[in-house]
Structures are given as C-alpha cells and as structure tokens.
C-alpha cells in the first residue's frame, strides 16, 4: 500500500510523516516523529502504555490510526513540562516511587495529566477510576495514586495566586 504524507500536530509542533493507512498513531509517533516516549505494550488496547491526549482527552495510540489523528491536537509525554522541566506529575512519580521499570509510566502520566486538566481535585477513588485502563506490573498502584494526589496538590498550590488573588494582590 502506498504511503501518504500526514501532518500531525504533536505537542504544538507540526510533523510531516509518511504513513500507510494501516499504521497506528503509536507507530507514527515513535518511528515517524522520533517521539519514543509513547510505549507500545499489548498493541490491542488493554494495557494503556500508549496513552496520549487527543484534543485534551486520554486515548490509545495503538487503536488510533495515524491518518485519523490528522487535524487533532496530540499531546505525548514529551509535551508535558515543556520538554525540559519536569511536569509536577513526573516529579511526583519520581518522588513517590510511582515508577519502577518505567515502561507503563508515560501512559500513566499522560492519562493522569488529562484527568488533572479536567478535574484539578479528584478523590482517590476518582484517580483509581481514571487510571483503571493502565496496567503496571511493578508498583502495585498505591505509589502511583499517591503520586497523582501529590501532583494535584502541587498544581493547585501553583495556580492559587493566579486563580484566587489574595487581598494584598488585589490592592496592588
């Protein structure tokens, strides 16, 4: 099957990639864009390793065709934290021991970043539900949930001055 050029918008940058219709977004990101942070585990939608954001919502890159991702805003693990700084979730996963072998970690972090974008203060139960499509064979999940809670707290604290100006700031 002939390859066609597809324009993918990944982490705000445009990538032109030659793909076959059968190529998944996961293949296009890893082999075409050189963004190997997105991992492929089961390649059948069961493990969540390949989770990316499509227009701000968590989705699986192994069950998305590269062609259908054209025109969508794709966010991968490389797009969090601006590429050079650690995103609060990445910092919290490292601090809390939420990552061991690390293969599932990008999927967990992208999925929880999508959660925190829409729900800044999720309950522990809500966090567990949001990551129920991500499998980790190392950690036992408790430290992952701890890390997401820690990151949520840090993001809320960082946003507080802008969202709710204090009395002093209002006077200035």
């Amino acid at each position: 099957m002939a390859k066609t050029l597809v324009r993918l918008t990944v982490n705000g940058a445009t990538h032109e990639v030659a793909v076959e219709p059968r190529d998944t977004l996961a293949q296009a990101l890893r082999d075409g864009c050189g963004l190997t942070g997105t991992k492929v585990g089961c390649d059948l939608g069961t493990c969540g390793c390949c989770a990316v954001m499509l227009d701000g919502r968590a989705a699986l890159a192994c069950l998305t065709l590269a062609l259908e991702a054209e025109g969508r805003a794709i966010t991968t693990i490389e797009g969090l934290g601006g590429g050079t700084n650690l995103h609060p979730l990445q910092e919290a996963f490292a601090t809390c021991g939420g990552s061991q072998c690390g293969y599932c970690t990008p999927g967990f972090i992208v999925t929880s970043a999508a959660l925190l974008d829409h729900e800044p203060s999720p309950s522990r139960e809500r966090i567990k539900d949001a990551i129920s499509g991500n499998l980790c064979r190392c950690t036992g999940y408790i430290k992952i949930v701890d890390a997401i809670e820690r990151a949520a707290d840090r993001i809320r604290v960082a946003k507080t001055p802008a969202d709710a100006p204090s009395r002093e700031l209002q006077h200035n």
């Binding site: 219709p21 939608g45 998305t64 065709l65 062609l67 259908e68 129920s132």
Partner: protein, 339 residues
C-alpha cells in the same frame, strides 16, 4: 495488520456508496483494529465516519437529544464517555449510563461509540484466534464446546457458545420499544437515502442457529445511525466481571421497572453475556409484576426465575449462580432509583 485503503467521505450518502462486505465503516475503531491486528478481519477498505457532516432531515448522528414526549435520541457516533456523563441519559434512562460507564477503560470510552459498542464482535477467544476452527468465521466446528468455555453462554449455546459482548445492547433491550435507525442508499441513478427503524427486541440480534456469521441484522451497505429510547427512569444495569477494569461482563442484567405507588406494575429484565444474543427474561419479569417495590422475596424469586432453562456447559455452571446474583443486584439498584 494486512494493508487496507482508507476513505474519508464527508457525507452519509458518500459513506453508504462505499460500504460493502469488504469496505467497513470505522467510528472509534477499537474492535475493528483488534480484529484486523489478530487477522480475524481483513477489510480491503476502511471508511472513516468521523468527517461526516450533519445530515439534514433525519435523526442526528451526534449528540444526545430529548425528543417531544421525553424520548431519548442518541446518535450512533456518541461516545461511551458522553453517554455515561450525560445528564439527560442519567435522568431518562440511567441503565444506559450504567452500561456505558462499565465498558472497557476510560481511554477507550473516550473514543468508542454507541454504534460500535452495539456492533462489536464476540470476545470468544477461539473466534479471535484464526488458528482455531470457528463457526463464526465460516468453519465447521466449535472448539469452545470441548475447550475453555468458562465465560461462555449458558443459554442458547447448542451451536455456538460465544456470548454477545455489548453492555449497551443489554441495557437498550430492557427499555420497552427501544429502537435503532439505520440508513442505506437506494440502488439506482437517484441514490437517495433510505431510512429504516427496527425495534431491538424484534429480530435485530441474530442467533447463531439463524446465521452464525453475524450478530446483528444490518446489511453490509447499511449504517447504524441512531438509537431511540423511551423514558425508563427507574432502571439500572449491573454486571459482574472477573477483573475490576477492562473486562467484558461475565454476567450482566438490566432492569426497567414501571412503578405505581409502592407496587411494581410492570418490569422488563434483560440478561447480558449469558447467550449469543441479549435475552429478555419473561419469567423474571413475571415474578416482579404486581409485587411490592421493596418485596425482597419477590426480588429473590425473580433472580431465581431468570436462571430457568439454563443449559450450562461442563465448565461454566458458576455463571448460573452469578446470573442469579446479578439479577438480584440490578433489581435492587433499579428500586433505589424510584422516588
């Protein structure tokens, strides 16, 4: 995956002109790509449904709308995440929101659609592995009968014992007069659109005795477009799984109650994951009719009646007991939604 070509038409008419036994419609594509990766399905063309613009003069392909008379109209392209979170669905037919929330994983629910959920193929491991013979793939035998069939059918399993995989089908079947709208394109020069509506309880689901190759009576050139659901606010869907996430139901039950005062005037009880098609259990419904809303002896009687006529295989007798439990839980969950 075997190579395929990819078409991205922008109108329903153009989609319908392309569809054929080898050119298949793709919405979320979760099941389609799973089947293609396993080599079970080898479409020559995938027809992307994501670019179809709004169709004039028919039901909507997108969104949840409340029609006059309070009936829900849900486009086939609506995602499971949207159904699970829809205030209208939760108010008018909460069993459907339960069923959507219980499906797959959050990532898949963000992409998977109502239409795709209803038309997904069975999860039988023998069907999904081309190494094995399978009646559903045109073969002559069913290795599941003498194989690993712990999760397979306990009703209607004489020929094929794969269970129907759709949560939403079970929930919709419990709603009285729930229907689906489909469209085809007229053969001939004019090529106008032809609408068809079908009641879910009236032959939409195909038994393996009638045709083992398909599970739904929808033609290769026909597109599922929308579902209509009458109001059934006292309703619930409950399933029991082996795993807490990303697992198709071991057994499932959707209950719709018509409540008058503190009595159950009428009931509909649909059973899922226990037969090749979702089943309505009349014995279970009969055990509730005329009984008190909180008559737990009647709930137990209905749960026991739902297992009448079960024909479990050598290794899945446990599903009979699970079915009894899930029917009891679903009745209790529906009653909790009455005022």
């Amino acid at each position: 995956m075997k190579p395929f070509s990819y078409a991205r038409p922008t109108t329903a008419a153009d989609v319908l002109k392309l569809l054929s036994p080898t050119a298949r419609p793709k919405a979320g594509g979760n099941d389609l790509l799973d089947l293609a990766k396993r080599g079970v399905s080898t479409p020559a063309t995938l027809v992307d449904l994501s670019r179809i613009s709004v169709q004039e003069g028919g039901p909507r392909f997108d969104g949840v709308t409340v029609a006059e008379g309070g009936q829900l109209e849900i486009g086939a392209r609506v995602t499971l995440a949207q159904i699970a979170a829809s205030a209208d669905v939760l108010r008018i037919f909460p069993a459907l929101a339960d069923a959507a929330a219980a499906a797959a994983t959050p990532q898949i629910r963000n992409v998977a659609t109502l239409g795709g959920n209803l038309l997904q193929r069975p999860r039988c491991a023998y069907f999904r592995d081309p190494f094995f013979d399978c009646l559903k793939r045109g073969g002559t035998s069913c290795p599941a009968r003498d194989g690993v069939h712990d999760e397979m059918a306990i009703f209607g399993n004489a020929k094929c014992c794969a269970t129907h995989p759709s949560n939403l089908a079970t929930a919709l079947l419990a709603a009285p007069q729930a229907g689906l709208a489909t469209i085809t394109v007229e053969i001939g020069a004019k090529g106008g659109l032809v609408w068809r509506t079908v009641e879910l309880s009236d032959g939409f689901f195909v038994r393996p005795e009638d045709d083992p190759l398909i599970e739904a009576a929808i033609a290769p050139g026909e597109l599922l477009w929308a579902a209509f659901v009458p109001a059934a606010p006292v309703s619930a869907y409950v399933e029991i799984n082996q795993k807490q996430s990303y697992d198709w139901a071991s057994v499932a039950c959707a209950v719709v109650l018509d409540v008058e005062g503190d009595k159950i005037a009428d009931a509909r009880i649909a059973l899922g994951a226990v037969a090749p098609v979702p089943l309505l259990s009349e014995p279970a419904a009969a055990a509730l009719r005329g009984k008190g809303l909180r008559d737990t002896a009647a709930w137990d009687a209905a749960a026991a009646a739902a297992t009448q006529g079960a024909t479990p295989l050598a290794r899945n007798g446990h599903k009979v007991r699970q079915l009894r439990a899930v029917v009891r839980r679903a009745i209790e969950a529906a009653v909790a939604r009455s005022k």
